[in-house]
């Protein structure tokens, strides 16, 4: 099966600019996650979708971050305006079911550098 696809692979922007990341999950996976991974740390959940509805966005900085999942398939994550501390790898993951016993499948991530 094809894996989770993410683009772009790398992005460099200046602070206060905006940026968007795209994710295409594995076909048939109902649950989609966006994680932020700062260098040297573990991934931190930003938002979780079940189909096209938001299940958990408690750690999403909503003043600058937004995400949507169109038609319950692809998803975009946007940052506007970006800050220096947003420099990180943004990982998209999907799972077959929303229940915890379903392992996550990750894309290779988008490495964002904010200068």
């Amino acid at each position: 099966e094809a894996g989770v696809a993410q683009s772009p692979r790398y992005k460099i922007i200046e602070k206060r600019q905006s940026v968007a990341f795209w994710c295409n999950p594995i076909s048939g996976h109902a649950t989609l996650y966006w994680y932020q991974q700062i260098l040297g740390q573990g991934p931190k959940l930003l938002i979780q979708f079940q189909n096209n509805g938001v299940v958990d966005d408690s750690q999403l900085p909503k003043d600058r971050f937004s995400a949507e999942r169109l038609k319950g398939v692809d998803s975009t994550l946007k940052i506007q305006p970006a800050k220096l501390e947003d420099s990180a790898v943004y990982l998209c993951a999907s799972s077959l079911r929303g229940r915890l016993n379903s392992p996550l499948h990750f894309g290779n991530g988008t490495r964002l550098t904010v200068t």
Binding site: G42, D56, F106, N108, G109
Partner: protein, 111 residues
């Protein structure tokens, strides 16, 4: 922070040796999962152990879980240079249904 912690943060061994790392967590869990991450890549799921299980094996990998101590250990036998990667434990938190990752252990296997 609800984030669990792996110990050690970094581990360097020779090819053929066994490697062990530990994960401590803070909340009640539904399960505990282990993931691997190669440099510049996404995470890959290795194994899942449920809260009512005490030990699980997958190939050269053995994972144990002690819910009374809120800890899990990970052992890989006969290590290979290709095992070089970062390894993360992730708590499947029963109450919130979140999967919370630890900070990871960086394993280097020298040929």
């Amino acid at each position: 922070s609800q984030q669990g912690e792996e110990d050690p943060q970094a581990l360097s061994i020779q090819e053929g040796e066994n490697a062990t790392m530990n994960c401590s967590y803070k909340t009640s869990i539904n399960n505990l999962q282990w993931y691997r991450q190669n440099s510049g890549r996404g995470l890959v799921h290795l194994i899942l152990i449920r809260s009512n299980e005490r030990e699980k094996h997958s190939g050269r990998l053995r994972v144990t879980l002690d819910t009374s101590k809120k800890s899990s250990s990970w052992l890989i036998t006969a290590s290979r240079a290709a095992d070089t990667a970062s390894y993360f434990c992730a708590e499947g938190q029963g109450g919130s249904e979140k999967l919370v990752f630890g900070k990871g252990t960086k394993l280097t296997v020298n040929p």
